[in-house]
């Protein structure tokens, strides 16, 4: 592969810089576009993910390291996705909480009377 000598070669850092700068400008512009909140949110996460990947792959040289090191770098990402899925049921439960507690409170209120 062309990566055989990549350890000594350097990526064109200025290209990465311009890509990051342009993506930042797009992010700031996307916020003001007349799209739905969900679509804008999705676009922002995709843009931020691309920027983070560019920094990790080129500035942190992850692209030119052994792939096992990539597993170390990806572990926190996997665990965070796992954490978000762990939190999802709690979020839906929280939204129902006020109604449940209101019912219990009113029920107690009637029994005491």
């Amino acid at each position: 592969m062309a990566n055989a000598h990549a350890q000594h070669e350097e990526p064109n850092y200025m290209n990465i810089f311009w890509a990051l700068a342009v993506l930042t400008v797009i992010e700031v512009v996307v916020v003001y576009l007349p799209f739905s909140r969900l679509l804008i949110g999705f676009l922002l996460v995709a843009l931020a993910g691309t920027k983070a990947a560019l920094v990790a792959l080129y500035f942190m040289h992850l692209k030119f390291e052994r792939s096992t090191l990539g597993i170390i770098a990806l572990t926190p990402l996997l665990l965070c996705v796992f954490l978000i899925f762990m939190l999802l049921p709690d979020l839906t439960a929280h939204n129902k909480l006020p109604t449940v507690s209101a019912k219990t409170a009113s029920g107690e209120h009637t029994t005491t009377h």
Binding site: Y13, L20, T24, E27, V28, V55, L69, C80, L83, L91
Partner: protein
Amino acid sequence: MSEAAAVLHQEIQPAETPLTPESWGKLGMWVFLAGDAMSFGGLLAGYGALRASSPDWPNPLRTLGISLTAFMTFLLICSSVTMVKALSAAKHGDQVKFRLFLLLTIIGGTIFLTMQAYEWGHLTHEGMTMSGNPWGAALFGTTFFILTGFHGCHVFGGVIYLSCILLSGLNGRYTADNYNPVEIVGLYWHFVDLVWILVFTFVYLIQ
């Protein structure tokens, strides 16, 4: 004689790490960063959960303002570029460029911290604190100060770390044969930049 010395030298060499053959320190920094990423991931996930379950979350775009922070994002990207340039100069044995670019990186981090201090002062003046704000959910202020504060501490630590590398490199220690400490401080600095990209998106931009 010299062969025997070479053999002896080989014997006392520590075992080579299979992940980062050039240095153990680099592997250590990657493992630290993976742990640190989990800290930030936990904070961001907690922030998301609190925000999603708060019906009166203030609009960050209108309350925080993004022109200043967009510039701060740009500044950190620039300081990441000067960092890779500093490493590249060290690899090529260019001491002057190495010191210049490392100094620019430190200055970039310092300006970032100054702007963050200004932003915090401005928001506090508007009534936003850890425990409340005039616009809605009190947790808006709590999560904002915790997330940006935790990141700001990382930038502050990074500026000190970079300064130590710059000072220890003033005698020309970092050369084409010995640039690992520069690469390792670079990993830390780029990570701080990477986290800011995520904080900027999740705290300031997403509505």
